[in-house]
């Protein structure tokens, strides 16, 4: 139920058996079926989710009803509306399952207590947020300055598993393209 979670945790901050037992008391195991929401826009994001199994996406919907995918999440990743989680303001993202999923949730109160009680949890959190920040900076730079083909090639080289598991129209919504443009780019790349 928490196998991958502790595997990842131990990579960032090795735990003693006692510390693992303590952390376990704060975790919420949660199953989500495909298409079910973990969070809907307008609600406050009350937990961050570590993905043990399955795939999720975080997205926003614009005024014309178009979906913009902010982030995908696969096994071993964390997904949330961090802004809402940290500030307590209503979420601007929706998060739902693309595949049946098993999650480990850390509620806001559990998160705060663990930060107070266990310096290693603070390390874990810092490394997670640093990683998320670096990924976001990369994504932002790529969006504003790289040509389309390069962006797609970079994305599929970095995340081959997402390209394999996630439907094309969602990848288009992640890249800010129509599905038609994405498939044109894919054709151009494969004919090279």
């Amino acid at each position: 139920m928490y196998e991958l979670f502790f595997q990842e945790f131990n990579k960032k901050a090795p735990l003693t058996g006692e510390e693992e037992t303590l952390i376990k008391t704060y975790l919420t195991p949660k199953k989500l079926r495909r298409k079910q929401y973990l969070l809907q826009e307008g609600d406050v994001c009350k937990a961050i989710a570590f993905i043990e199994k399955g795939a999720l996406r975080a997205y926003s919907v614009d005024d014309s009803g178009d979906t913009h995918i902010i982030q995908f999440g696969l096994e071993g990743w964390i997904i949330s509306d961090l802004y809402s989680f940290l500030t307590g303001e209503p979420a601007t993202y929706n998060i739902d399952a693309i595949e049946d999923a098993e999650l480990v949730l850390i509620s806001k109160s559990a998160h705060e207590e663990l930060l107070r009680k266990l310096p290693k949890y603070e390390t874990f959190t810092r490394l997670n947020i640093t990683g998320a920040y670096l990924a976001m900076q990369k994504r932002l730079t790529s969006i504003i300055s790289s040509p389309l083909e390069e962006r797609y090639a970079g994305f599929s080289a970095l995340y081959p598993e997402i390209v394999q598991r996630v439907p094309q129209h969602m990848i288009a919504a992640y890249m800010g393209l129509t599905p038609e443009t994405l498939s044109r780019i894919r054709r151009r790349i494969s004919s090279k």
Binding site: T28, R33, Q36, Y37, D43
Partner: protein, 220 residues
């Protein structure tokens, strides 16, 4: 809250379990029902779906599976069965809201079987130390769910527990079921709540209330 929460009802085919399930199926909840008697569970799910085509409801395979998917778990089993069910859901109920509805009544309704310094809810909390046990729906009879307004007044439903946020979540659930939720205090207040229902049952038997009675606090 927009995000649909999943509620597992364990013991869904009992008087209280089925009344709660029917009532909550009208709210923005996804319901997973579990009961020992599969032959009663399937017709119950069907009945709820027939009455309300929008109901998001399903029969669950086992208590642990239902509990794993759930955000909130309602134990609609008699006090005597709580120990066994608690064992099955302990791991998946970690950090989750678990609602204790049981009244630990003696067989002849002449008292409670719990020791004076405790309550069914507190005993459940001991069995599930990492869950947020909340006492609710114990001062309401099954018939109240279809008739939460008695003699022109909306019945009160008392809630007790130690976690503020969990109390609020359960208060919303109680309101969805048609009752007026009143947060009575921390989990130890369950002792009073369980005795209140004992009194109501005793009075009901004495004055023939026909199991349609409830509590209403009069105040200005």
């Amino acid at each position: 809250m927009k995000t649909r929460q999943t509620i597992a009802v364990i013991g869904a085919t009992g008087n209280m379990g089925s009344a709660i399930s029917k009532s909550l199926s009208k709210g923005n909840y996804r319901l997973l029902l579990k009961a020992n008697k599969q032959e009663e569970l399937d017709p119950l799910v069907k009945e709820i779906k027939t009455k309300n085509a929008d109901a998001d409801i399903e029969a669950a395979v086992c208590p642990a599976e239902a509990g794993w998917e759930a955000d909130i778990i309602i134990l609609a089993v008699p006090f005597g069965a709580e120990n066994e069910v608690a064992k099955k859901i302990k791991e998946v109920a970690n950090q989750k809201i678990v609602i204790s509805i049981a009244n630990p009544l003696s067989e002849t309704y002449n008292g409670l079987v719990t020791a004076p310094g405790t309550s069914a809810a507190e005993e459940l909390q001991k069995l599930l130390p990492n869950s947020k046990v909340i006492k609710a729906f114990n001062t309401t009879f099954a018939a109240n769910f279809s008739t939460p307004v008695i003699d022109g007044k909306q019945a009160d439903a008392f809630i007790a527990g130690n976690d503020e946020e969990a109390l609020q979540t359960v208060a919303e659930l109680v309101a969805t079921a048609g009752f007026n939720p009143i947060v009575a205090g921390d989990l130890s207040v369950s002792r009073t709540l369980e005795h209140m229902q004992l009194l109501l049952i005793q009075l009901g038997l004495k004055y023939n209330y026909n199991w349609l009675a409830g509590w209403k606090i009069l105040h200005n």
